[in-house]
């Protein structure tokens, strides 16, 4: 059975999220950490070898 909020379906019978307009702090952190858990990292180093940016990316084969 789909889940609706104020008449708008937000979880379909196929278990897909729909019409999610925002996330709270907790959910944002959860999504962020899920991406980090993929461990697919691009690091940017300056010429002295110091890491200045760390980019966490989605993976072709998600880590479960």
């Amino acid at each position: 059975m789909a889940v609706k909020v104020s008449g708008t379906e937000v979880i379909t019978n196929a278990r897909a999220l729909e019409a999610i307009t925002d996330t709270d702090v907790t959910t944002s952190a959860t999504i962020n950490n899920a991406i980090k858990d993929q461990n697919n990292i691009l690091r940017i180093f300056n010429s002295a070898g110091t890491e200045v940016r760390t980019l966490f990316c989605a993976a072709n084969t998600p880590v479960t």
């Binding site: 990292i41 691009l42 690091r43 940017i44 180093f45 300056n46 010429s47 002295a48 070898g49 200045v52």
Partner: protein, 489 residues
Amino acid sequence: MAVRTPLFINQPDGQVQPQIYEMDATSITNVHRFATYAYGQNPSARLEVNTANGTLLSGQPFVDTYYIAGAYSTRVDRFATEAETANISMSTDNYNRLRLVHDSASLPTGDTNNFQYPIFLYATSGDDIDTHFRAMSRTDFIDTFVTPGLQQMESDGFWNGTNNRQQNGTHFITTSSNPSNASLVSATPLAINSTANVAAYTSGGIPETQKQTTDVNYYIAKVDFPATAWEVYDSEAGTYDLPLYFDAGTEQIRQHTPTTWANLLGPFLRYYFRTVGSGYYTSYSLSSGTQKGSTYTDTRVVPTGSGYTTRYVNTDDYRTQEFPTGTATTVSANTKRLYITRSASVTETVALAGTTSNPVLFDSFPNSDGDVTTGWRFNTNGTIDWYNTEESPNYYDSGSTWVNTTPSQTYYIRFNKYSGTSASNVSYGPTLNTWQALTSARVIRVTDSRPAGTYESEEAVFKVEIASDSGGSNILDTGYYNTFWEGGL
């Protein structure tokens, strides 16, 4: 310091979006060719006309000779005789306008925010050996773009005397006020060749203006092709396949434009083209070298008679004047040519690289199989090799050098361990803290004989010194060179 593989934006056929790619050999060569464009935006060896900069180029003046009419006569009673009428005369104009300028230029030493130079793919040590981005060091940049760029310019014929894009930034003489793929250094001619315009003098015009000439203006121009003339230009996309860099201000990865690339590479090239002993010192001459552009020629008419001419205006006005006659010929003694010259002599200079905080990087991470050896070899011809037990052959060119030309004398090298594990079964050598003559190749290596899988990644840094004497009392330079290896844990 080492040769790195730059990155660029590319969208091969079938790709939905452009992606970041390592440049292949062709793309890298195209960037090397583009060095000519970069230099041409602000050449450090150049010519100016009628300024106060530099010095007057030796061999002037440019001499221009031409005939002018004599002053006219008028009488009320009769025509003045030929003897009474002023003769034609030869005028001489001397032009001393050409100036040779060698701008003050030093080799750039900075690395602003440690992100001044392009980025390359970089593998870190540790458990997650991923491929990342790292900014080149200044010496990486010199090895990757400056030195090969200069060599490409030489190979493409920078000093061969033509005025194609391969000679961008060189100067030449032209008679065109709007030469194609070039720009005049001044609207003021270098010199003018005036020749009497015989047909302009007529009886009915007495008194004729004394100087009536056909002029040929000679200008100095600089070869100045647009950036689109080079192979780096992708005409389909309208973009330039130039290296990527990390913009520290916006924290964005960006692709160089022709302007930003010229601003980055140009100062290095300017140093080489204006520095005696660099191997690329460039100058101009009026006496010898490879000719650039048109030959300046002084032509004047050779009179075939006095040119005595009369004009009756009225009974009180009998006019006479003598005009230039004949056809134009070249005055060989006044011919001048502009030449470009190059001094290929190199001032021998020992130069190591790396600092304690930023040593020269090793190329790769050999993995231990119970015994791993990595290090460096300093060769008698001035080159430096990496040593890696996993590579075949074990020694391979790092792209770095310890001296900029084949050594003309004996130098001495000393190795010491600067940092690295002191674990047992790890040895450094073969010879530490001893001055060795570089009449043979000299090696510094670390050998780790611990069982594989018993330790993680390791790094060692070697301190390298080169002196001109066997006792090391005159140390010419010091550098730091690192190496990595993986234990498999």
